[in-house]
């Protein structure tokens, strides 16, 4: 529950940064904060009370794999949100890199990272 609330607050803070801040770099930081908040939210939704990572290692040492699976179901968290977040982190890194490259290019073109100096980009 704490995880969920933290994720929501991070999302809101990130959206505030995206909408209010003038500097492009700060807006990109806002995007990464939203990113982190969404990750926390997804992980919080997948959490099962008292669960551990969905990796069956010490739960059973015999070779009876199907039995291990049946036993593990009662004490692991949902693997699907974990898998989503796992890939989303790397994708978020690449997308942040793309945004920063665009910011670098804008800065080289006009010498400024302030969004007010790029009026011609407005729709």
């Amino acid at each position: 529950m704490i995880l969920l609330i933290t994720g929501m607050l991070l999302i809101l803070a990130g959206i505030w940064a995206i909408l209010v801040k003038k500097d492009i770099i700060r807006m990109i930081i806002g995007f990464t904060v939203v990113d982190t908040g969404v990750h926390l939210l997804i992980v919080a939704i997948g959490y099962v009370k008292g669960g551990t990572a969905p990796i069956i290692d010490r739960a059973v040492s015999t070779a009876d794999a199907s039995f291990a699976g049946l036993q593990a179901i009662s004490k692991v968290v949902d693997p699907v949100p974990s898998a989503l977040v796992l890939t989303a982190i790397v994708i978020g890194l690449a997308v942040t890199g793309l945004m920063l490259a665009y910011a670098v290019r804008l800065n080289k073109a006009t010498g400024s990272t302030n969004i007010d100096d790029h009026e011609e980009q407005k729709w």
Partner: protein
């Protein structure tokens, strides 16, 4: 003022959406049927302990293929943006050189003419004067343009020695992480990022370190191609509904390195692909795509 009101309204609306999500939310007491099916299937069907890897590589393999494509597109976009920017900047420098050259030449020629007009010195001296001023201006221009292209400072001794010690270990750790993705926490994405962080350290420590773009492109393309080929092999060997199904290779012994069918192979390919893509991002940021 109206802008801040709109921002406030937007945040309030988003907060309302999240509130709707949170107010009914209760931490689950047990797994939902889909997740328990995945956890059971990862051990009984695919013979691997890591259910997250089972979801990433096999059950939601198509999603992962899509995400790798997104990663590729983002990398290509970064390379494109930085490369175009550098070329236009180079043209600007050339233009500035030309613009600076012309008036300086005129000035020296004018000075020569003035000397001629005064007629107090012989013409040869005039010529050498104007030539020397011309060469001076050229030298000045050269220093100007070379200072425009930033030269990186050498990495410190600690960083160099540390990178010599650590980079091989980091790369080995990355390879370990993505080859053991089906057994332990980790996998292709994490291992690839670890390898790219090692390459980042190398770039920071060595000024003259150049990543071969050709090598990166080849490893990236080949691993991506092989990933799709592994998926298609499942389609061909197991049947129509088995795209990216890893069970056409032997399941092996539970908890062994070579087990779980094609999962270690696929995850290693993802690891190589992610590592080389992030390394090529670093490389294009390093020399901002000047010459490939």
């Amino acid at each position: 003022m109206i802008k801040y009101l709109l921002v406030f309204a937007a945040i309030l609306g988003m907060g309302w959406i999240l509130w709707q999500l949170g107010v009914e939310f209760q931490t689950a007491q047990e797994l939902n049927p889909l997740a328990s099916e995945y956890v059971r299937g990862s051990t009984s069907d695919l013979n691997m302990p890591n259910a997250v890897t089972a979801v990433v590589v096999s059950y939601r393999g198509l999603d992962t293929l899509g995400e790798v494509t997104v990663l590729f597109l983002a990398t290509a976009g970064i390379g494109f943006l930085l490369k175009r920017k550098k070329r236009s900047a180079g043209l600007e420098i050339d233009d500035a050189d030309g613009a600076a050259n012309v008036p300086v030449c005129d000035e020296s020629a004018l000075a020569g003419l003035e000397f001629d007009a005064t007629g107090t010195t012989d013409p040869q001296n005039n010529l050498s004067n104007s030539l020397s001023s011309l060469s001076n201006s050229v030298v000045k221009n050269e220093t100007l343009s070379s200072s425009a292209v930033k030269t990186r400072t050498e990495g410190s001794e600690i960083l160099k020695t540390g990178s010599n010690l650590l980079v091989p270990m980091i790369v080995v750790l990355g390879i370990y992480i993505f080859t053991h993705g089906h057994l332990s926490p980790g996998g292709g994405f994490q291992g690839g990022v670890v390898i790219a962080s090692g390459i980042l350290m190398l770039i920071m420590a060595e000024v003259r370190f150049h990543l071969s773009h050709l090598l990166l492109h080849i490893s990236e393309s080949l691993s991506g191609l092989a990933y799709v080929a592994m998926g298609l092999a499942g389609l061909i060997l197991l049947g129509v509904h088995h795209f990216l199904d890893p069970r056409y290779l032997l399941a092996g012994k539970f908890l062994a390195l070579f087990s779980a069918g094609a999962v270690p192979v696929i995850y290693s390919l993802i690891g190589i692909k992610v590592g080389s893509e992030l390394a090529s991002v670093l490389a294009s940021i390093q020399h901002e795509g000047e010459d490939l």
